[in-house]
Subunit: 259 residues, 2 copies
DNA sequence: ACCTTGAACTTGTCTAGAGGACTAGAGCAC
DNA sequence: GTGCTCTAGTCCTCTAGACAAGTTCAAGGT
């Protein structure tokens, strides 16, 4: 049986916070493992000798942190944490492309996960207005849009949408669902745009309902958003990639010179 | 007077959600403006004809979304959105330090915000075990811990905690609350450790209750975490800085070479 | 073999009330 | 004016109970 500790009435923290703290501690220490069911409300009431609203307030706090998920009629469960992956800053090294590997595959394998790309959609659209400036395009110019989902060990971890100017992608495998070895960056370089550098804009927010569905995450789990722009040797933007990552599946690593 | 509408008992949404929806609508439509006070609990009870816990549950929902902020003894107020700050990757350029400005001050001013540093605490502790390896320190080595809060235009946007090995900080203004012009990086360089580069590890998660309080955000607002390690010319780590940023207040910009 | 029913569990929502803690302002004493 | 107390208003926490709704499973009927 799980040892839960007791509420200390002389503590200056209110009981519901203490209870939340005790449960949080058990989760962090691994006494309650991912997927495991928390004691039911009745059990917590019995154990701590408090009213129902008090234990509910405690559980509410953990739900707000995304640590647990309540399922009506079933119980409250510890959220199962997907695998953590690190994105090293050399993830676009040319040697990987020359080996025919895309960035995601390289990293997932390095982290010991089985990578899968999923739900690939390739379309030809007019450039979204908020991206036109980044791609140095006019309002009516067309782009190839490549949307896909990434999974690690079968768990969805990221959705990504790339936008490549049609003038660059035309006649290459970029317009195909299977973009060939080394991914679209290899195709872009073959098209005469040797890559010089990328800029990345990182932020974080709560997912939209659609994103929750595709990424199979519950309410209370934030996402990392990363907007990457790729430039060739002439500083011409050749691709913008909009990615939405499950927050706890990623740690982004960057190296910044002190100058 | 604010027109709030009524609860529809035939609606399939529970009353507390309807009330939350009505208030949310008034906020989005600008009928309740940032900084403005919501009707008090008593007024909401009177108006909607429900119990106290019901209106509290409605307000709780809005707090969770970060739309409103409750202040004990004063009231509930519409949250004023903190300004977005873009952190470019040249924010540690030496020319800024030579002008006597720390990174936060430079950037906030450049973006047209009024920066304030707040709640500065300086202590001498043994190095936290999870940071010992990053700082190349043993379990019992001591570090100077500098914790502080940053505000832009009066709104909390970030809390940061720096860890500097005592061997480096000893005898410098790093151990003082006021670390002098150019911030601690200027002091570290004066101590003979010219900075070469930084690594940053970016992730995102839900805030802890403590962080929610200090940053004045609701339970539904995620935070960006950034763990920065500074290295000198000999690749010796001279500082680790653990920052927690309000997600919607920041966009982190990085430049990555294609190699 | 299949389905229905119902009991026993879970969490979700709501009511009605209590005391506590914090804030701001009015009034008073110095 | 300054500092104090008092008070009314605010949100915070907790209690005790009620009914609703979703899940699971076993007993019983077909």
């Amino acid at each position: 049986m799980l040892d839960l500790g007791e509420v200390d009435r002389s503590d200056d923290r209110p009981p519901y916070r203490q209870i939340a703290g005790l449960l949080r501690e058990r989760i962090k220490l691994g006494r309650l493992t991912p997927g495991e069911q928390l004691p039911s409300e009745s059990e917590l009431i019995q154990h701590f000798g408090v009213a129902r609203m008090t234990v509910r307030q405690a559980v509410q706090e953990l739900r707000g942190e995304g640590l647990v998920v309540a399922e009506h009629g079933k119980g409250v469960f510890v959220r199962s944490a997907p695998p953590v992956r690190r994105l090293a800053s050399d993830r676009f090294a040319r040697r990987h492309r020359e080996q025919g590997k895309s960035a995601f595959l390289v990293e997932a394998e390095a982290a010991g996960h089985t990578p899968v790309v999923d739900q690939v959609r390739v379309t030809n659209e007019t450039v979204p207005s908020e991206l036109a400036e980044r791609l140095h395009l006019g309002m009516d110019d067309r782009v190839i849009v490549r949307a896909r989902r990434y999974l690690a060990d079968g768990v969805p971890v990221e959705i990504a949408t790339s936008y490549i100017p049609e003038t660059i992608a035309r006649g290459t495998a970029i317009t195909e669902v299977n973009s060939g070895p080394g991914g679209i960056y290899a195709r872009i370089e073959e098209a005469g745009h040797e890559l010089k550098h990328f800029t990345e804009e990182v932020s974080s927010r709560m997912p939209t309902p659609d994103e929750r569905k595709v990424l199979q995450i519950g309410a209370g789990v934030p996402v990392l958003t990363l907007l990457r722009t790729a430039y060739d040797m002439d500083e011409v933007p050749v691709e913008v990639c909009d990615t939405v990552k499950v927050s706890h599946a990623y740690v982004l690593e960057y190296d910044v010179p002190a100058q």
